[in-house]
Amino acid sequence: MHISEGILSAPVLITGAALAAAGISVGLKKMDSDKIPEVAVLSSVFFVASLIHVPIGPSSVHLIINGINGLLLGWLCFPSILVALTLQAILFQFGGITVLGVNTLNMALPGVICYYLFGRLVNRETRLVSLAAAFSCGFFAVLFSGILVALSLLFTEESFISAVTLILLAHLPVMIIEGVITLFCVAFLKRVKPEVFGGIYGKGS
């Protein structure tokens, strides 16, 4: 879902960069030194996940893993994803430096939204509710990303509806796979370390 260089117009790039910068500053403010290693690990998960291709459907799609990033990091997923995307742009030429802001926003904002939508539900004692919320978290993070990508392309592609259906259809397998991955991660982490889901932002905030 990385948007390449030279597609978006300057106003879209600037708006995206400004919004991403706002998200990153919120994330950095909330970052506790205890949380830094976790941010780094999830950043590298995101960095590597883009290399895993899902060979279903007509287009080239890959894992994104922004659901888990959002669920475990909240606003901290903005800096986490920014670092990963920067390195992907430099080392793999995915996306690009000028579109970094837009791409960060498109991937990280859905993570934050899903954190607020499903974070509490994942914490529930009832196993079924918690796992269903975990699946939805992974699923909807990709779905929202798709919608944001289509919105960014609004001024370049002819029609929003066709862009959105194309992107969402291509990413349907990814959504399901990410839902399942998130589900297993949550089930596993709940068993070995349930505290990971509570108190993301440290004691200070």
């Binding site: 990385h2 030194s33 690990v41 996940a49 895993i52 291709h53 194309l166 982490l189």
Partner: protein, 204 residues
């Protein structure tokens, strides 16, 4: 508490490591398209691929001249290829638009087009074709050389096209992860230094 945290971090590292192993073992395919174009005779061939080798099928191709005027438009076939007759002897900018925000460019300089097609034509027009001793005219020999060169160079051109769309290598992947952990170290250093200074201030 400290122990639990350590377990948590090592689990996350394990998860990353397993993803990493998967990503290396599956041919890496991901979000980047490349287009490669070359001239053969009077035709320009293009080949479009996603990073890692999946062909960009049914993708839009636009050809512009240096002034940005669109010369022609087409769609790649099911092998990701698209070829067209040279529309104009000038610098050609070939833009691939594979949808969903994927775009790539390739420029063919005017000289390359001239060399491949124009020069030959000029010579033919300029010099009278003297039959050589073997009974072959100048242009026939020229054509023969041209033909056999194209045949010989074909695989090399194709190899170049292949190398254009290679996915990320292991070094780059490992390097990227290294960068992230290096950044983590820097961030921790500054956070801890701030804390220490805070503590010292309190002690004074």
């Amino acid at each position: 508490m400290e122990k639990v945290r350590r377990i948590q971090i090592s689990l996350l590292i394990l998860f990353t490591a397993s993803l990493f192993v998967i990503s290396i073992s599956i041919p890496a395919l991901a979000h980047k398209v490349t287009i490669f174009a070359w001239v053969e005779g009077d035709t320009i061939f293009t080949e479009s691929k996603f990073s890692g080798g999946k062909r960009a099928i049914n993708a839009q191709i636009l050809v512009f001249d240096r002034q940005g005027k669109q010369l022609l438009e087409g769609k790649t076939n099911d092998k990701g290829e698209f070829s067209f007759k040279i529309p104009k002897v000038a610098d050609l900018r070939i833009v691939l638009n594979a949808g969903m925000g994927h775009r790539a460019e390739w420029t063919i300089p005017e000289s390359e087009i001239r060399e491949a097609s124009g020069l030959l034509g000029n010579k033919r027009a300029g010099e009278s074709s003297q039959p050589l001793a073997v009974g072959l005219s100048r242009e026939e020999i020229g054509d023969l050389i041209e033909e056999s060169l194209e045949k010989k160079l074909g695989p090399i051109v194709r190899m170049l096209a292949e190398s254009q769309s290679k996915g990320p290598s292991v070094t780059e992947i490992v390097g990227g992860i290294g960068y992230i952990f290096g950044l983590m170290g820097v961030a921790l250093y500054f956070k801890n230094r701030g804390k220490q200074r805070h503590r010292e201030d309190r002690d004074d």
